[in-house]
């Protein structure tokens, strides 16, 4: 487990940001993945006192605080009602209820873990991240950036009629995904996201219509296979992941077509 020399519960975002400019500082969101590391931390900055644990809804969007737990996302009727149960589907396989009561949205997104179910699923929606200093930017842009020392404050999810589905393959029910695919449809066009390759989730940059037939889907999958990198690890080989990517994108499209 990691070690830490000092523990500070930040009173303001400014205080947390100032402390976080030192390389030896680590932000503490849920801390669930951090505790599996062997890092030597100088100062741990606890973000739990900043009121970032709320799910707020306006006419045009949901605003999710970075400290919202995975369990809050899983059980939110408003979120799951608006996005066809996506938030339950993307969280319910993650370890267990007790873990999901600790782990946070911000922890998963800011770390940009390759295995992150949340990053993969949210990329299928139209989301923006709100950073303390850099302000708002599209999640897709943020997901490609290297880790920095800014603080993820909230994630804004647009309510624009985008209809998502999420499918994963796991070796065991509560294990990390071997491969994850999220898809969404809006105005007859489909967006596909492939995660846990095991690299970070990425949007497939190729057109796919909701009405696509087998040939169109295969053309899309060929583009996906050449665009994205896949690799092997203890959960599955590169070849297996490439095969799964075709299977899961096909299932996602079928689910969207079935409505």
């Amino acid at each position: 487990m990691f070690t830490a020399q000092q523990y500070v519960k930040a009173a303001t975002l400014e205080e947390a940001w100032q402390l976080n400019q030192k390389r030896s500082t680590t932000l503490l969101a849920g801390g669930c993945w951090l505790r599996l590391t062997r890092r030597r931390v100088g100062t741990l900055v606890d973000l739990s006192g900043l009121g970032l644990d709320t799910i707020e809804e306006t006419e045009g969007e949901f605003s999710l605080g970075a400290m919202v737990t995975l369990r809050q996302l899983e059980t939110s009727e408003a979120l799951n009602g608006a996005f066809g149960g996506l938030f339950k589907e993307m969280t319910r396989h993650i370890v267990g209820v007790q873990f999901r009561n600790c782990a946070t949205l911000g922890g998963s997104i800011a770390a940009r873990f390759g295995f992150s179910d949340l990053l993969c699923a949210l990329l299928a929606l139209d989301c923006e991240v709100e950073l303390f200093k850099a302000g708002r930017m599209p999640l897709e842009q943020y997901a490609k950036l290297p880790a920095d020392r800014d603080i993820l404050v909230r994630i804004h999810v647009k309510k624009n009629g985008r209809r998502p589905v999420y499918r994963t393959m796991r070796n065991a029910e509560t294990d990390l995904p071997v491969l994850a695919v999220a898809a969404s449809e809006k105005d007859g066009q489909v967006r596909m996201v492939v995660g846990a390759r095991p690299a970070r989730a990425e949007v497939v940059n190729a057109p796919l219509a909701l009405s696509a037939d087998k040939a169109a889907l295969e053309a899309f999958q060929a583009a996906m296979q050449s665009q994205l990198t896949f690799a092997g690890n203890m959960r599955g080989s590169e070849e297996y992941r490439r095969h799964l990517a075709n299977v899961l994108t096909g299932r996602c499209l079928a689910a969207l077509q079935e409505g």
Binding site: Q5, L28, G96
Partner: protein
């Protein structure tokens, strides 16, 4: 650093290191029902309630619990004994090592899902608790019987 929690209904304060897990903080406070199992968030042995919700005490730092209410099995003797009776009746505990964490999860589940929980919902809620002895069927029977008894129905 100094950490103060409301532990099993009473205030408890102790000095601890910044990287102390709640698991060890609680065991040092005498709550030996909180078991140290995998320490990788996978087994559920160390489950306690923080502000009424089940959490893995191996995944929470003592500092994160500062100012919060923490309940261990020692603080839920009556409820634990009641459910433990159903567990014993159904052969739902054998070595018993997972029982404290399992019972803490079941008591939280009972409050959260209520008596109408389906078998599927119960299984899903308890996925974070591993048991190497029972195969889970006897535990499921015990939960069903316990929920029925709480509702005043014979199972």
């Amino acid at each position: 650093m100094q950490v103060t929690i409301q532990l099993n209904g009473r205030p408890y304060t102790a000095e601890t290191a910044p990287d102390t897990q709640l698991l060890h903080f609680l065991r040092d406070a005498g709550c030996k029902s909180v078991k140290c199992g995998c320490e990788t968030s996978g087994c559920g042995l160390c489950t306690v309630h923080m502000d009424g919700k089940p959490v893995l005490s191996c995944s929470v730092l003592a500092g994160q619990a500062d100012g919060h209410t923490v309940t261990t099995l020692e603080g839920l003797q009556k409820e634990a004994e009641e459910f433990g009776g159903f567990l014993a009746d159904q052969g739902g505990e054998q070595c018993g090592f997972c029982s404290p964490g399992f019972i803490m999860s079941v008591l939280a589940m009972g409050k959260e899902l209520g008596a109408d929980a389906t078998d599927e919902e119960i299984r899903e809620y308890l996925e974070g608790n591993l048991c190497r002895c029972t195969g889970y069927q006897s535990q499921l029977r015990a939960i069903r019987a316990w929920l029925a008894a709480k509702e005043g129905k014979a199972e």
